[in-house]
Symmetry: D2
Subunit: 283 residues, 4 copies
């Protein structure tokens, strides 16, 4: 599947030499190929670039002058997700997890997996293990939480979301990750361009480390059910939202609502969302 | 300076095939050379090893049989810390930070830097910047917190410690890291063998990313004032204690108190602690 | 029903003139008559007494000398609970609540009803109103929480209990009260001597303000299902456990485990617990 | 001193039979006499009234019809505060506190005195006791917190305020109360009409139970320094803000900003604020 993705961001910079770090470019990874890409800024400035080895996140930094700053990103991305049978996808016991995945068992700022262990055990501890257990967690979120724009803020954590019984995509992802980690399933946060997300915006979903017939991999889940794995173009991967901001300005800045775009180049606009998850092997 | 370091750990494993991950081996890094090293287990088992590229942490995993498990680690480590003049060590503005250090500005599970920003700004925002500001933070902790064994547990975070006005080395490190990040200084958690720590134990200190005449580096600080930088043998480095456990068992396990050792091979036992910090360049 | 109740408390007082406030005497109230009562202290000291008008709690204060202090309370109490048909007991809308009951709609230290409102609405908002809805809350607690001695401490609040999915009688009461208040049902905390509680101890239950055919009253519920309303001798009533300690020492004090007794004088020891609630009108 | 006080409130009621409880009338108490009082509603409805014995709070309830509801309160109040010498006002040890004041030592929803005990002890435990220690607490708040409109919300507690280092009058009062209770000084929350408060609004201050030459009494303090005790007309008294709302609607309601008035009838508009506190004996 081929997608044209992009975004327009605009800022009002209040002082000269204000640093910005952006993480809006599509990752280049197995199953996700990027072509015909452009990133343009309204101010002509030197750029620092960094692609984080452990995550594949692509960071761009500039120090903006006072005044208006606009950013336009455009890319064509081909997704080639591996198809799989969920019934054959297992959880991986701690004794066989790749040691680099251990990091994604630990609690993080917005994912207090340690505090939610008893809750997770009571709700999901007895369920059959594997891909279906992560699906059960996502279903539980869908059934027990309301998706309510504006109901949370940047300090809202998984624990808060569980008590408030509502949130946005970021909060759904955090709580699903918390439950997974609490059950011993490595899980991480993913920001993405999401096909047919309505209204269009940056989206947040999660990945769990599971093992299919072809080996271990990060499997995508969207606990909000607002996107399908074969329509998700990954941007940033991290322990939680603290690590995956699309824009981090260091200084006082005004901003407008981002305009986010994704268009399918080879599938009909009204095609039914597929609900099967999709996997792409990690490097 | 040369040190002989080591530890003895013992566990009562309750079931066969119980995974353990250990992170007790000294890092191999510029300024810290490891020689004559041995790691022995009372059970003869296959080991998985992993050295994390971004941190240098060395992980060992085994799946233990039911019964007694003891672990003995021994090594000779040579520290060759760079000397520096604190007055020449500056903070690095966000526009010039290495992008890989950004991760250590983010809040993490036990370091709610986002929540402590106003507190940090009120106490330290007006102070002269640089190595001396991190020292001022450490002094503030020393003056305002009690070091009280048993006063915290594994869920205690920087925010809790600030309110409780007491803690152990782990808590002092978390709060110092939180204040640094809240002020825009990347900071991370370090577990270590600490010369002349009394009573002997695994120690926790912190590092801040600063810039001396020879460039940016992680500078060590011990907010408890219980060790000196030239007597610290680094073991684990992470966002906070969640990522740097010396032992992570996956299953029910009994355990005794770890015996931790460090002996200076080339300095007198009663030599005064030096309080100057010490730096070692990151790769 | 007649009960002989009592307790033995013992303390090691570390300094002269250490104040103690006790709240261990049975309330005197409609439906609960106290006879043949005695309260003895091992030290011969002047006592201050206070019976709080709004709650009926009976406080005794003394300033103890250094050394051993023991307390023995004994009383015979007759309970004459009103029988009622739960199906006829309704919730009272805010427009008709007695204004003095409003206090028991507010959140308190260990009952963050304001934070749990969305949770309560999602779980119980749609249920038929009345006595049966409070029963449904108690049943939910029974089904979703473990009763685990030692799983909480004096700082544990309703929010914590909900996340930890376990607690003791104090925690069950707090969470049931929180859900009631969040739904607009006044609710309060009750400490009691509880017939056939096993092991014997001070017990904590809760009351909700509801309206039967004979008018509004506080109806007792025990969300732990460890006692029956017709076997509960009320001691202290308050917003939450913060207000109903059986002993508040002001100074350093050692103490043993309290010995708490309750014996039925007119019913067989093995009589089945009745599960119907029991009401007693407030003054 | 005589004041004319009052307020105008307006609401848009979304459904018939929506209950409202108001607590806007000046208390009638020693040192505060109310004359020429009127309370008018734009809807002609039956009123329920209740004056809470333990606090003196005056509650009025009505069930409003759909549509506009306005409320106008007007009164003339004479304050006759007792003058005193702060140096002669002492703290009262627990052994001599009136037992009815004990309630105001307990933690409450927005005043987690139990959690702030170590903080209070470190900052204020060593200070000379008495009126001057409560003044020292208020001074500390003034020096360490910013008064920032909009910086908190209705869920903000004393702990939050301490971490955020800013708040409004409600938050200053909560934190001062928390520190007092943590030190063993009974303290409570007071809502008031405050002379020369700028901009005019309902104000929140606090009272501590202390003992002057004429006995124990509640002494007023304003940690924001925005009012003086001889210009404060008490409305509501409670454990914390949870208990002292000027309006509690039960149902969906729109509302405008309240217009609050206070005018001195016998002192010049530009008279200097007196900073001495003022006491009025409790009944």
């Amino acid at each position: 599947m081929r997608y044209r993705v992009g975004c327009d961001l605009d800022y009002e910079v209040k002082a000269d030499d204000t640093p910005f770090v952006f993480n809006i470019e599509a990752q280049r990874r197995p199953g996700q190929a990027v072509a015909r890409e452009s990133l343009r800024f309204s101010q002509d400035l030197p750029l620092d670039r960094f692609e984080m080895p452990e995550s594949g996140n692509r960071y761009v930094r500039l120090c903006a002058d006072k005044g208006k700053l606009t950013v336009r990103y455009e890319a064509e991305v081909t997704l080639d997700p591996a198809r799989f049978d969920p019934a054959l996808v297992r959880e991986v016991p701690a004794g066989r997890l790749p040691l680099e995945a251990l990091t994604h068992l630990y609690p993080s700022r917005y994912v207090e997996a340690d505090l939610l262990r008893p809750y997770a055990q009571r709700e999901f501890g007895h369920l059959p293990r594997g891909h279906q257990r992560v699906t059960a967690i996502c279903n539980w979120l869908h059934d027990n939480l309301d998706y309510t724009p504006g109901s949370s803020d940047e300090q809202t954590s998984a624990r808060d979301t569980l008590l408030q019984r509502q949130g946005v995509c970021r909060d759904f992802a955090h709580l699903a990750i918390a439950f997974c980690r609490a059950l011993g399933i490595p899980a991480r946060f993913v920001s993405a361009y999401a096909w047919r997300l309505s209204p269009p915006d940056f989206h947040a979903v999660m990945e769990a480390w599971l093992e299919g017939p072809e080996g271990g991999a990060w499997f995508l889940f969207d606990p909000t059910r607002k996107s399908a794995a074969d329509g998700l173009v990954r941007i940033g991967i991290g322990r939680d939202a603290a690590e995956v901001a699309f824009c981090s300005p260091f200084g006082e800045v005004g901003y407008g609502k981002p305009a986010v775009r994704i268009e399918a180049l080879d599938r009909p606009a009204r095609e039914a969302l597929t609900t099967e998850a999709v996997t792409a092997a990690v490097a």
